[in-house]
């Protein structure tokens, strides 16, 4: 695809341009429309009898028939190299921070990387080494992350290292190595490379089943439905059920080397919150570092061009794959994948394709599962491993989980965190429904083994007991509602209140409280043991009227514990009072 084709615009419908092409053109090839003095980027999405249908990543206002078009001979690509971390990009990986002006002027495309910055390069490979795509040739220190300089992913086959640059200061476009291929051709490697975002990077040996817990500090996830390094999960929920707050909590707290947030078609003010807060927030896993240092934000807010919205999730995934190939733990969050699906729907509609369910394109399900499959843990050629954990939110239309995006995603993702309107209404946050939600990983023997070693041998049993208590509590609550408080035995009330203790102490968590927001695993274990101890205690109440006030006190006491610094004096004193409360509950009524 070396010879660049040209063309002229012959039709426009909203952001779809129909272009008469001179010369060859590829599906998904990038082209630029020359409007006045600016080039507007577009991507070919359909070709029919000499006409290319291109989605324009900008407003098409003022474009006329006859506007000249240049085809670039390559697909939509991401520019990869040192300096991606802590940057804010638009969906096409243009640096938002270096754009001039208050408004996003169309056609203003900035570089993804700072080409002038010098990086301190250290060689890792030796002349004579045999390498293939993704092999590490050297590294630079990017904030706290060792950023490996790799053989470009595009290069196929084996290569022999001829030379590697000595340790020193280099710019991203400087040559740092020379390789030769089987035919003896010399190839130069710089610190930057391009990758077509819609294709998966396959520079790894294999993709084993994930087995390592990814700690998020969110109790209802880590304890009840854990996600793993290299796992996939999704969070569907109606608006106002706390999707974004939950996702932001995960992005701040999760134990990952690199966090990539794709704000896809969502509110600009939420992205601003990330922009403003992350540079201020301390990294909980790397003392003395700021969160922003290991974060990349891809922002295509809902008012930014629709076509770039689809690109934004792919750009984010490509950056994730790039860092995974360095042997790092990457967490990728996309909020929300429904907006991406809607962008697909708008284009499919403009191209007058026959619609599938709810007017979404027929291949929606395939597109979604293909995307989720790019996550995962991989083993690299040097036996190191890296992972991409992907969590997407879904905004189901009308809060109905039977709509196409939710259903397609459910087939693709292994963890399901259903946000419940009912829980949100009663301010029980995070509103993850403990009964509908699931983590398939909890059934993995690999994970069970890790949990047994890392926490305690009977941990999975304990988790299952918590789930049982919640389920039985729900059933008891239904019975009480039907038969009335005094229409059931005291046992029903006890069963209900046990589940309330689990709910209040483990499930509910104050994302805005500095202490309660993040619960390390040891503390989760500690509180779980407390909760189970209370659930195991035999209380003998004479009537249901005693149950409610007693448990209210217990719950309140344990909430105070959650709000206190773990194992602090204050925590211990609340704990002591709880011990007394428990003795009183057992003793006086026995």
């Amino acid at each position: 695809m070396k010879n660049q084709s040209t063309g002229t615009v012959s039709g426009i419908i909203a952001n779809l341009a129909i272009i008469k092409v001179e010369g060859p053109v590829a599906q998904n090839e990038v082209c630029y429309l020359r409007h006045k003095d600016t080039d507007l980027m577009a991507e070919v999405i359909k070709i029919r009898s000499g006409y290319a249908y291109a989605q324009v990543f900008e407003s098409t206002r003022g474009i006329k028939v006859g506007t000249p078009v240049r085809f670039m001979g390559h697909l939509l690509e991401a520019t990869l190299g040192p300096g991606i971390l802590s940057r804010n990009y638009d969906g096409l990986m243009h640096d938002l921070g270096t754009m001039s002006g208050i408004f996003l002027q169309r056609g203003e495309y900035t570089d993804a990387l700072d080409k002038a910055k010098l990086w301190h390069f250290k060689p890792l490979a030796q002349p004579g080494d045999t390498v293939q795509a993704g092999a590490w040739l050297g590294e630079v220190q990017e904030n706290a992350v060792p950023h490996r300089i790799m053989v470009p992913f595009m290069w196929q086959g084996s290569f022999t290292v001829q030379s590697v640059a000595p340790e020193g200061e280099y710019r991203v476009e400087d040559e740092i190595a020379t390789l030769s291929d089987a035919s003896g051709r010399q190839l130069k490697v710089t610190m930057t490379q391009q990758w077509p975002v819609k294709q998966a990077v396959r520079a790894y040996v294999d993709k084993p089943r994930p087995y390592q817990l990814l700690e998020t500090g969110v109790r209802t996830i880590d304890t009840l439905n854990p996600i793993v390094e290299g796992g996939t999960g999704f969070i569907p929920g109606p608006f106002g059920s706390g999707k974004t707050v939950l996702q932001q909590a995960i992005s701040r707290q999760a134990d990952a080397d690199v966090v990539i947030v794709a704000a896809c078609g969502e509110r600009a003010n939420e992205v601003v919150e990330l922009f403003k807060e992350f540079p201020e927030l301390d990294d909980p896993w790397h003392p003395g570092r700021r969160l922003m240092e290991r974060t990349v934000i891809i922002a295509n807010t809902s008012n930014m061009p629709v076509a770039a919205r689809e690109a934004s999730v792919y750009t984010a995934m490509t950056i994730a794959e790039y860092y995974r190939s360095m042997g790092l733990k990457v967490l990728l969050l996309a909020d929300s994948t429904s907006r991406w699906a809607q962008a697909l729907r708008e284009m499919s509609n403009r191209m007058e394709e026959l619609p599938g369910p709810d007017a979404f394109p027929m291949d929606l399900s395939a597109i979604i599962s293909n995307f989720y499959s790019r996550a995962g843990m991989v083993r690299l050629s040097n036996n190191q491993s890296g992972s991409i954990t992907f969590i997407g939110t879904v905004s189901p239309a009308g809060g109905n989980l039977k709509e196409p995006v939710t259903e397609s995603t459910r087939k693709a993702a292994r963890c399901f965190y259903a946000l419940s309107q009912q829980r949100a209404d009663s301010k029980r946050y995070p509103a993850i429904d403990p009964i509908d939600s699931y983590s398939k990983y909890l059934e993995y023997p690999e994970l069970q083994e890790t949990l047994a070693k890392a926490i305690s041998p009977d941990w999975v049993d304990k988790v299952n007991r918590l789930k049982n208590i919640l389920l039985r509590g729900k059933e008891a609550a239904e019975q009480i509602n039907i038969l009335g408080d005094d229409g059931v035995t005291v046992d029903y009330h006890l069963t209900f209140w046990r589940s309330e203790v689990v709910d209040a102490v483990i499930l509910q968590q104050d994302a805005f409280d500095s202490i309660d927001a993040r619960t390390p695993l040891a503390r989760q274990q500690y509180m779980t043991d407390w909760v189970l101890r209370i659930c195991d205690t035999h209380f003998q109440f004479d009537s249901f009227e005693q149950v409610n006030p007693y448990f209210k006190r217990v719950v309140n006491q344990m909430k105070q514990m959650n709000y206190s610094e773990f194992e602090s004096e204050q925590f211990r004193s609340f704990e002591k009072e709880l011990e007394e409360m428990l003795r009183e509950g057992e003793g006086s009524r026995r």
Binding site: K64, L104, T301, S302, M304, N349, G398, G399, S426, N556
Partner: protein
């Protein structure tokens, strides 16, 4: 918008639908304005030399030999300080008998603000209404709609909020406003002596519905002028966005687009987001806050319009008539202000978040008690107390006729807690209980 001498006049329309016409023409830009048979129209589709125009006031009576003149530019608004105090139609033409506004010509529906150039909203908007200030605090740069049935007094509440909000400019975008409501706004602003702070773009029910599509962009172009050029705090009122969406569906239908949910166009989310996302806080101090109205059909929020709106806006406000006290209240369960976390407990007293949550939880307990009562079960002593609390809470805080400052609201809430409950039942962080209980 006068035609100019050198413009080419076309006189052969090939196709007419209720809202669009198609003709052959050269050198026409996308989204360009045109005059078709004396009516304003906009280019919505170009296929070779075949141009499709959306005629805002409908195509009734347009003959195939009508004159079509292209302006060579998209819709514009002249912006200057002269906008203040004036009333315009959807095209930005004066309807108050005053002269045309002189000023800089700006395209409406311009580009989005670069998100990294935005500032995080942090300035409280006080309204004196506890249902808003206490439970759903508003912030400058926020966008929030009232979700209301057509019979609810949303226009009155919105006017009240606008006047109390201490904005430098209030811009009213009226879409499908009844003439009575239009006059209501005019009168309220006049009585409050606030006319010099108001700019209005109004499409009443007497005007053709498709014209409405221009109203939000007109209003927001004026808002951007005052917020950016003048660093002012601008409040934009958009009523009613459901009627705006209806106009969108009319146009997409005429263009043979495949409808998605509730016969709305598939692009509804993007179309609404383009408007609401103009709400912004700038570093220099200027801001645009949008308060809108989305009317519901008998409270159904799963309909495509409120549903998509809910995903775009930063919360929503529900009004409800509380039969216990016979007043309209701001519903604490279904209302939400997403940006309140940025100010409550920071710009307001530190106990604000906990007090707010505790009160709502107790109010929810009261709702459960009421269900029990209705189902014929006996109430416990606690149930009885929650019911009494709920009534007083509703009357003294939730009702929209309340007008007090936030600290006073918090004090009242603490009084009510102490009056009806024990400390454990309220369950607030110890340090606040010690400070404010009783």
């Amino acid at each position: 918008m006068q035609t100019q001498a050198f413009q080419r006049v076309y006189t052969k329309i090939e196709q007419l639908t209720k809202a669009t016409c198609t003709l052959r023409a050269q050198d026409v830009g996308n989204e360009e304005l045109a005059l078709v048979h004396g009516r304003l129209a906009q280019v919505v589709k170009i296929m070779g030399d075949e141009i499709t125009l959306q005629v805002f006031s409908g195509t009734e009576g347009i003959p195939t030999n009508a004159e079509v003149v292209f302006f060579g530019k998209p819709p514009v608004l002249n912006v200057s300080d002269e906008l203040a105090g004036r009333f315009f139609d959807a095209f930005g033409r004066p309807i108050d008998g005053g002269p045309d506004v002189q000023g800089e010509e700006r395209e409406i529906g311009g580009p989005s603000v670069n998100p990294v150039r935005r500032e995080q909203p942090s300035e409280l908007i006080t309204t004196g209404i506890a249902g808003i200030d206490l439970n759903n605090t508003l912030v400058t740069g926020q966008k929030i709609p009232f979700f209301a049935d057509p019979d609810q007094p949303y226009n009155q509440v919105m006017a009240m909020v606008a006047l109390r909000a201490e904005a430098d400019k209030i811009i009213l975008g009226g879409m499908g406003l009844t003439n009575d409501d239009y006059l209501f706004y005019k009168q309220v602003f006049e009585n409050a002596g606030a006319l010099h702070r108001i700019v209005s773009f109004v499409n009443t029910t007497e005007n053709p519905p498709v014209e409405r599509l221009l109203v939000p962009d007109m209003a927001l172009t004026a808002a951007e002028y005052f917020a950016i050029d003048k660093n002012e705090k601008v409040l934009v009122l958009l009523t009613d966005m459901t009627l705006y969406a209806d106009a969108l569906s009319i146009v997409s239908n005429r263009m043979d687009q495949i409808p998605s949910k509730d016969s709305m166009p598939g692009s509804l989310y993007s179309d609404l987001a383009k408007i609401y996302e103009k709400a912004v806080q700038f570093e220099a101090g200027g801001s645009i806050t949008i308060i809108a109205v989305t009317t519901l059909s008998s409270g159904d929020i799963t309909h495509a319009v409120p549903d998509n709106t809910g995903y775009i806006t930063e919360g929503q406000l529900f009004l409800r008539r509380d039969t216990e006290i016979g007043k309209v209240i701001v519903d604490p369960f279904r209302s939400l202000s997403r940006l309140k976390q940025l100010v409550i407990g920071k710009k307001t007293r530190a106990d604000h978040p906990q007090v707010m949550n505790a009160a709502i939880r107790l109010y929810a307990d009261a709702a459960n008690a009421r269900t029990k009562l209705e189902n014929g079960f006996d109430l416990t002593d606690y149930d009885e107390r929650t019911l009494q609390f709920a009534k007083e809470y509703s009357d003294r805080l939730l009702a929209i006729d309340v007008n007090i400052d936030t600290t006073e609201m918090l004090n009242i809430a603490w009084q009510l807690f102490a009056k009806y409950f024990s400390k454990a039942e309220v369950g607030i962080k110890q340090e606040f209980v010690e400070k404010y209980w009783g």
